[in-house]
């Protein structure tokens, strides 16, 4: 039975990644060709969410371009574009002949956005919520839902569980 790589454990093996690595990366991602975002940005956003929520640990290996392309039924260049952009931002690193890994040292923005910026975002959120008639308790509930979505992958995670059980 396939299982997830333990948090923080690097699955770096020379050559092709194992079936488990492919399985994990694909289960973290859910692509929609009719989404407002281009597919490469959907991949980027979901990998960044998975890193932020701890579902992808530092040093963990990602599927290769080719494997992800075939699993998600998208062009290999689309996967390459997403990985290149993530690498340029410092979230992942590719090592020739070994594969692609979540960076050991994440970019500054991922480690902690300035409190001032977060405060501004919180004010904007509350302002929008109050204007639409919501109360603070309801906003807190939304934040808890967003937290669960980041840490568990929400619907993607539930699909993973179903598939694992088959």
């Amino acid at each position: 039975m396939r299982r997830r790589v333990a948090s923080g454990q690097c699955n770096a093996v020379a050559g092709a990644p194992s079936d488990m690595v492919i399985y994990i990366t694909c289960m973290l991602l859910s692509i929609s060709a009719s989404d407002d975002l281009p597919i490469y940005r959907q991949i980027m956003r979901q990998i960044m969410d998975a890193i932020a929520g701890g579902r992808l640990a530092r040093g963990e290996q990602l599927s290769s371009h080719r494997e992800l392309s075939e699993q998600l039924v998208i062009a290999p260049l689309t996967v390459k574009k997403a990985y290149d952009e993530l690498e340029a931002l410092g979230y992942i690193t590719s090592q020739r002949g070994r594969g692609t890994f979540v960076s050991d040292t994440l970019p500054k923005a991922a480690q902690g956005v300035q409190a001032e910026q977060l405060g501004e975002l919180a004010r904007k959120l509350l302002s929008q919520a109050y204007l639409s008639g919501m109360r603070l308790a309801e906003v807190m509930q939304l934040l808890r839902q967003a937290d669960r979505s980041l840490t568990t992958g929400s619907d993607v995670a539930s699909r993973t569980r179903r598939k694992t059980a088959i």
Binding site: A33, P38, I39, R66, S69, E70, A75, L77
Partner: protein, 303 residues
């Protein structure tokens, strides 16, 4: 390295009528994916048939791998796979007979790929093609088109009339070829979701010419649609001439303009060149962009 496809100023009409292709120029490199989009009757099938050597261009020149497809049909066809929605197949042959013919014709036939695709498609080898569903016939054609590991795959609306399962199998097979063989793919489709998945470059064919030739990411991220109240556009001609404006059309009491740039730069352009400050500017998906580029006008008086 020679381009896989090179069209130079290609003109083609039927029975002396208005040209269906009227000066088409484009090229494709190996391992490139190009999606050919256009309304019905825009010349997509004519372009594919000229590339296959099934039709002569009336003017201009066509080369595949540096060779004319009409002067060197065998050499060119050996390196191409072709599937079309209206493809003619020998309907009284069985699936097995059709595959056996292709196996004999192509020295590079990949028996392992044949086996894999036969299993995936679950095609009945002894059944005649006229007894198969449209989807099964298209699967048989796809198998014959790809098992000689072509350098170029031409797919003319391969998904037309197919259910989502068969459509997905076409995509999976195309992507497998892209990954494993580096096959260049030129495909036409009305399925924008398929175009998004195959990625690459998009050619928009309209009025016999290529109106737009951009990669998909650029189309999605560096083009915007501006919706402006008609009364706010004092000079329509100035809007049409403004830098980066690709198309302007009127929809009831609004003017829609497709413009190069991001929302901020487009808003600046509209304000500086035309004095328009209340435009709604947004990036749009491929389907909306297709409609904005090729859709007709709806004038208030006609509504």
């Amino acid at each position: 390295m020679k381009p896989v496809i090179m069209f130079r100023d290609v003109v083609r009409s039927y029975d002396g009528g208005k040209p269906v292709l009227d000066g088409v120029t484009f090229s494709m490199q190996s391992e490139e994916v190009v999606g050919l989009l256009g309304r019905n009757g825009s010349g997509k099938t004519t372009l594919m048939r000229i590339a296959m050597g099934m039709l002569f261009p009336h003017k201009g020149s066509v080369e595949l791998f540096g060779l004319s497809p009409t002067e060197h049909p065998v050499e060119v066809k050996k390196r191409i796979g072709f599937v079309a929605a209206d493809q003619e197949l020998p309907m009284f042959w069985s699936v097995g007979e059709l595959i056996a013919l292709h196996r004999k014709l192509f020295a590079k036939w990949d028996a392992a790929m044949e086996k894999q695709l036969l299993e995936r498609f679950a095609l009945p080898l002894n059944t005649r093609l006229n007894k198969l569903s449209t989807g099964q016939r298209r699967q048989a054609a796809l198998l014959c088109a790809v098992c000689h590991r072509p350098e170029l795959l031409l797919l003319d609306e391969p998904a037309a009339g197919l259910d989502p399962v068969v459509r997905r199998e076409f995509l999976e097979t195309s992507i497998q070829l892209l990954n494993r063989e580096g096959t260049a793919i030129l495909f036409s489709s009305h399925q924008m979701a398929d175009v998004e998945r195959l990625g690459g470059r998009v050619l928009l064919l309209d009025g016999g010419r290529i109106r737009l030739d951009r990669d998909l990411v650029t189309l999605r991220e560096q083009l915007c649609v501006a919706v402006i109240t008609r009364a706010a556009v004092a000079d329509m001609a100035a809007l049409e001439r403004a830098p980066g404006v690709l198309r302007v059309r009127t929809m009831h009491d609004k003017v829609h303009a497709v413009i190069d740039g991001n929302p901020d730069s487009v808003k600046r352009l509209l304000a500086e060149h035309l004095g328009v400050r209340d435009a709604e500017v947004k990036r749009v998906g491929l389907e909306d962009l297709f409609i904005e580029m090729l859709g007709g006008e709806r004038l208030e008086s006609a509504a």
